[in-house]
Chain length 450, copies 2
Amino acid sequence: MEEKIIEIKDLLHAKRFSELKEYLKEINSVDISSFFEELKGEEIIIMYRLLDKEKAAEVFTELDSDIQEKLIKVLTDKELKDVVNELYLDDAVDIIEEMPSNVVKRILKHIEPEDRKTINKLLKYPEDTAGSMMTTEFIDLKENMTVEEALAKIKKIGVDSETVYNCYVLSATRKIVGVITLEKLLLSNLDTKISDIMDQSIIKISTTEDQENVANMFDKYDEYALPVVDKEDRLVGIITVDDALDILKEEQEEDFEKMAAILPSEDPYLKTSVFTHIKNRIGWLLILMLSATITGTILAKYEAAFEAVPLLVSFIPMVMGTAGNSGQQTSTIVIRALATGEITLKDWLKVLWKEIRVGTLVGLVLFVVNIVRIYIQYQDIQMALVLGLTLIFTVIVSKSIGCLLPILVKKIKKDPAVVAAPLLTTVIDLCAIVIYFQIATSILTGIKGV
Amino acid sequence: MEEKIIEIKDLLHAKRFSELKEYLKEINSVDISSFFEELKGEEIIIMYRLLDKEKAAEVFTELDSDIQEKLIKVLTDKELKDVVNELYLDDAVDIIEEMPSNVVKRILKHIEPEDRKTINKLLKYPEDTAGSMMTTEFIDLKENMTVEEALAKIKKIGVDSETVYNCYVLSATRKIVGVITLEKLLLSNLDTKISDIMDQSIIKISTTEDQENVANMFDKYDEYALPVVDKEDRLVGIITVDDALDILKEEQEEDFEKMAAILPSEDPYLKTSVFTHIKNRIGWLLILMLSATITGTILAKYEAAFEAVPLLVSFIPMVMGTAGNSGQQTSTIVIRALATGEITLKDWLKVLWKEIRVGTLVGLVLFVVNIVRIYIQYQDIQMALVLGLTLIFTVIVSKSIGCLLPILVKKIKKDPAVVAAPLLTTVIDLCAIVIYFQIATSILTGIKGV
């Protein structure tokens, strides 16, 4: 790949345009589009004009929106008309959503009136729903068609369809009565009736379905395309698997950010301004900082204890750290298991019981390791016992909170990743401190309790 | 969906098998297979025998491996032969990999000798590589074929191909010279030469490619299938997008677990034994606990300081918590950006500069909020200043470490998610404590330093 980019650069700078034009034929549209990032000024339009019409539209779709904007400004009316009418409507909608309004006006002016109506309809669907992902360019067939008639229709309208591989058999009221793949059509006799070979186990998506659910359905059903229906169950569009893949990655990255107490960002890291980064992170940071003061206030009540035995203070990081880590291990696993459907709300007791057992045994291991360690380092058997018992109890409590909190949050219909992961540290820190000092004041002779 | 499951259950228990057989025709194979989880004993084989041959193989592929094993034990030799020969080879390989050896022997005995040879070859590829994901059932064409000849070949061998939608044009030495889609073949004139219309911008995967890279290539290139070539660049197999989707989800879940300091697990949460859960979590928990003792030892050196001003202790949770949270925000974003290719190693200076600026401004906000809060609560301007300055500096340092550590780990060719995320808390806690008490001993009059 690197060599190809160097080759393109050399040809471009040497102005060997006809060689470059030939060379570009062997390079994938996606790779060509990522190369555009490195072009400056006039190079962009020169490069673009070396591509044939079909490839130009493919490359255009893959470009970052700021480069698309630059390009639109310098394209002639005919060139703009060519590329926008080559686009599939869902791609056109995606592009339009990123453009400033004067550019949108110019684009729409050059789109065929029929398509313009459809695009405006698609733009109305709420963002992040199936309606906003779909395209209306699909192949619909009738039940009483023969395979021969179906293939003829596909040949006629296929060039405008996002995909010809899944065809939808519709009733008179445009409800889906069956699905048939191009593969099946090709491998059947020409006079077979569609109704005899179509698949009746249809998976449908409603226009209002959340995009994350749409992506999960593609993963579950292993389909290349799925139909989208409106409230009256009529076929209005299709979504193809490549769009679902993009959504899947997007949603996963959002989940990572939520679990680190960050508001999800729209753009890639380096393209996000310092100001936006701050905006995404300051909220939770403030909340968590202020809630840590509750832990601090509780800690202050045990002043008498750590004045009497200052050694107690030096173990605070280990106690809080271990509690935090074990709680986060559990909460991460449970939040992901809830998100992927591995566990449901009614499994809460099974999960809690599993975590209590894991916590007890893990706590016992830490207990033993710690007692040995502290005795070797300090020869203080009472302190060893305090820390050991603290660790067992905090680990059990942390893991219990770590699984119950996400489940509770999901029960009240909020997103566990957003609420639970950040709040968890605060709750667990609090419990860890209380458990620690209560055990300390009970066991260490001569310390006054709270 | 719920109503369908209830309907199936009712029909099954009422032994209305012919109605059930008809009803099952309208239900997707994936949904039928998830229903098998709820069947017991004889019901499994009864249900299975109600499915037609094609659907039976589809359902079989989707079943959990323990149910597949139960089924294989009760299927007749003919039934077993039917289903295993209906399977695509990559699915057969996946199934065989999960079975105990006596079951594998029985399966292989009923597979056609040619396929058996291929399966054994596929089983030899290292797990998690393209070779272990691929199937050898693809359509290959010759350059000098016409569209008519190509379609004829597809009709002949198409039923055995994993996909007929992408066909590979091979040279005499079986190297790929072009790719052509079924769509293009269908929409072209019958006498057109393949070499005139084939796409020469071919994306290839090597058999040794890591499965995560394979999944990312599908996401990047929006293809339905990609060809796999051996060391001599010859076409040996294909991978389809549904397999890539599964891998993508699997890899993402692994990354979540790595970042929570857990060894990734193979099975769903509830199916993983308590013992396995412990094994996956105890490692890092021990390491982190022992490394927290370093922080504790440093903290002990400041004993004189917090003996003189006990209030300092109560702010330890807030200081460590804020440092930890800001560091984790940064490290999560940077680790994910490295994983998705948004940033590369050579961007390290840009990233550091961005994080320093974000850290400074975020730190300033926390500085102000905290000074106000502490002054209101304690009327102690010196303490307010100590905490304020501590927060600014720890946030800047945490965010710097948070971005540099993952990049450093990637530089030495280790996985940032595994190493950086857990280690980060330890390093940051240490820095936070040192910064805190150094500032405290400098500012608060009357405290002796370390």
